[in-house]
């Protein structure tokens, strides 16, 4: 399956192998939305398990955005990964899988990665006025958005 | 003055008919006092029975087995602060519970506890009862409106819509029962003797018609009486906003329906009204279908011996209650904390036993029998209410209306027509 895709995209797919029995692909951000559509239609990966991101501050392409897909027919799971710099936006997968709506909103909420084409991109877990994206490495664990806490809760933030 | 009082004792009509104001007042006091006590007992019974349905104990702390719980509740409600919402309409807010209470208690004027044991025997008994019970809809609508907040109003409108639509179904069932009073068709026993052929609306007349026709209307023209009774039983539950139809109160976003803003004594008036309405409506059912105050099988098991046996029942029930209380006393844990409760329970049991013995005395036995059988049958209905509440989930509002209009009403009309045809043909 990977061979066929490589034939189609050649340089687009940087690396595809397995680690501890789980195969994953690192892909160019430019072709990712097409690839996801092909994976869903062609390769029957009809269930998007999860969309998440990991923050590597020291790398120049700071963020890894990861799609975990699963195919009922083939009982197989695959991870598609792309690397993007801070501030870059990622094409949204809501048109491919409806479940991406909230998952992408959470990634935006926690990491600040924008998904263009998303119907309603705004914070899902944190209050709206919140500044900062907690899951970034530079966001200290005890750091609070002082301004929001004072404005809405009217107390000095405990930390 | 004295003969004015004694003169009534000889005549065998209800005090209302005999125009004897004094005895009418006495009867009113007795009936309303009895109903209030029954409501208290019902409150206790409901909480205990519901608890035992759900494998828990129910109120145990106040008095032996929670017997004093209703009194404790009453005191709590009286002492609770009585809040009137801000811009509520004072007058309407104040009068709404009164209307509901009057409507529910007015029904008892015509309830026949015995051939002479009714406050009066209105010529239009049933019509009066249905009319007055429809008045309580007014009280609910006013309560909802007076609380001046968005959701009690919706709750009130919903519950009144429900009551109005189920009143229609109830009316149909009642009409088919009244039809049976005049049509003396061959009962299942083939006994063709019928009354003078003219039906009556008066409650006592209906019960006597059942007696003359030797059949309870429940079993007359076999399936029809039963279906009519079924419709009435369902409409009855919906009329009092209980069990599967208690939607306005329990809807999750309407919180407590029309009596949300009421508190303290005013709220307890609503509860009193609701329970009184429940007892009233089930007494209509008993009068119409289950042969009012007559003992079961009045005609098949006739004869002196059976009369004697059945007349012992009141005494037996009270003695049984005494025995249960005594068993409770024995099983009460020996801890000093429980000593007061054991004494209380023992006293209660002794009183019950005493009543049981008195009821065995022959003069008392004959007089009390009618009332006992009537109350026993109504008690059966009360148990049904609690049973419904424990088992059935709640209807959604549109399903509730669908059942009311699309199921009960057509069947009601059908039963009505069939009863008429059968009555004429047979």
């Amino acid at each position: 399956m990977v061979g066929k895709l490589k034939g189609q995209y050649g340089s687009g797919i940087r690396e595809a192998n397995t680690y501890l029995g789980q195969n994953y692909m690192i892909v160019e951000p430019s072709i990712v939305s097409e690839l996801l559509r092909i994976l869903r239609d062609g390769e029957q990966f009809d269930y998007c398990v999860d969309i998440t991101a990991v923050h590597y501050p020291e790398r120049e392409k700071q963020f890894d955005v990861i799609w975990i897909l699963y195919s009922f027919a083939r009982n197989e799971r695959i991870r598609v990964k792309i690397m993007i710099a801070d501030g870059e936006s990622v094409p949204s997968a809501v048109s491919v899988w409806a479940t991406a709506n909230w998952l992408e909103r959470e990634v935006f909420d926690m990491f600040g990665i924008r998904f263009d084409g998303h119907p309603d991109l705004k914070r899902i877990l944190l209050p709206d006025g919140w500044k900062g994206h907690p899951l970034r490495k530079d966001y200290g664990i005890i750091q609070q958005d002082q301004e929001w806490v004072q404005a809405n809760l009217g107390i000095e933030s405990g930390q | 003055m004295l003969n004015y009082i004694t003169s009534y004792l000889s005549s065998n009509t209800t005090p209302g008919q005999a125009g004897n104001v004094f005895w009418a007042l006495v009867y009113i006091m007795v009936v309303f006092g009895g109903i209030s006590v029954a409501v208290m007992a019902m409150n206790w019974l409901e909480r205990k029975a519901l608890a035992h349905f759900q494998i828990r104990l129910g109120p145990m702390r106040v008095g032996p087995h929670g017997l004093l719980q209703p009194i404790a509740d009453a005191i709590k409600l009286m002492t609770k602060e009585d809040i009137i919402p801000a811009e509520a309409d004072k007058f309407v807010f104040w009068i709404a519970p009164l209307i509901i209470l009057c409507a529910s208690f007015a029904v008892y004027i015509v309830v026949p506890f015995g051939p002479t044991h009714a406050i009066t025997d209105l010529n239009i008994g049933i019509l009066f009862m249905l009319g007055v019970s429809s008045l309580s809809v007014l009280g609910i609508v006013m309560a909802g409106w007076a609380s001046n907040s968005h959701y009690p109003l919706i709750g009130a409108l919903r519950s009144s819509a429900q009551m109005v639509s189920y009143e229609v179904a109830m009316g149909m069932a009642v009409v088919s029962a009244i039809l049976m009073t005049s049509l003396h068709g061959l009962g299942p026993y083939g006994v063709g003797v019928g009354s003078s052929g003219t039906g009556t609306l008066s409650m006592i007349g209906i019960v006597q018609a059942q007696q003359e026709q030797h059949v309870w209307f429940l079993f007359k023209f076999f399936p029809l009486g039963f279906i009519a009774f079924g419709i009435f039983a369902i409409a009855m539950v919906a009329e009092t906003n209980r069990a599967p139809f208690d939607l306005p109160e329990a809807e999750s976003e309407l919180t407590a329906g029309f009596h949300t803003e009421y508190s303290g004594l005013r709220w307890s008036l609503f509860m009193l009204g609701e329970y009184a309405a429940m007892i009233a409506v089930s007494s209509i059912a008993v009068t119409l279908w289950l042969g009012g105050w007559y003992r079961p099988f009045p005609n098949t098991l006739t004869g002196e011996t059976w009369d004697l046996v059945f007349s012992l029942f009141p005494g037996l029930t009270f003695l049984a209650l005494a025995v249960i209380a005594f068993v409770g006393v024995v099983r009460m844990p020996k801890h000093p904390y429980f000593r007061v409760q054991t004494i209380g329970l023992a006293g209660f049991g002794a009183v019950l036993g005493l009543i049981g013995l008195i009821l065995f005395a022959p003069p008392v036995r004959d007089r009390i029998q009618d009332i006992f059988w009537f109350v026993a049958k109504v008690g059966g209905f009360m148990y049904l209410y609690i049973w419904y509440r424990a088992t059935f989930p709640r209807y959604r509002f549109d399903q509730l209306m669908k059942v009311g209009w699309k199921v009960l009403l057509p069947i009601g009309i059908g039963v009505l027509i069939l009863t008429a045809i059968l009555g004429v043909v047979l």
Partner: protein, 177 residues
Amino acid sequence: MQEIVQPGMQPVATTFFFYFLSGITLVSGVFVITRKNPVHSALALILGLLAQAGLYLMLYAPFVAGVQIILYAGGIMVLFLFVIMLVNIERAQKEEQFNKQWLVGLLAAIALGALFVLVYVKGRSLFPHAIAQPIENSNTQQIGVMLYGQYMFAFEIASLLLLVAIIGAVVMAKKRI
């Protein structure tokens, strides 16, 4: 009237009750007009109707009294209250009471008053001499017989009229269901 009373139903202090009930009807009638809040006037109207039912009872017409309670107080007035409550009343209350035409009102009142006086003075001759039917227990029956006997035709038309009204209501609300 006293002697032909049927034994079953002794009159109970009728004169007092008569004045009491008609008093209530009059007072509640006045209340209906004067109250600013529509719900209060609706309640006053209900009280008036119930008092009327009491009057019917005194005229040994229990069936009519029962029907009065069920139909008027129980049915129609509930609809009145429904309508009043669904239309929000704050707006209605703010509009100032337009009783500019008190002159026309006065004239109408005088005319009506004159008519009453005329009837009262003329006395019996205006009405047929039917003596009130006192037999109390057959009252319902009598109405039944008359309803289905002589006035069968009128009864059918009335029921047809009601049917049309119901269908009209259903059609109007059909869009919503």
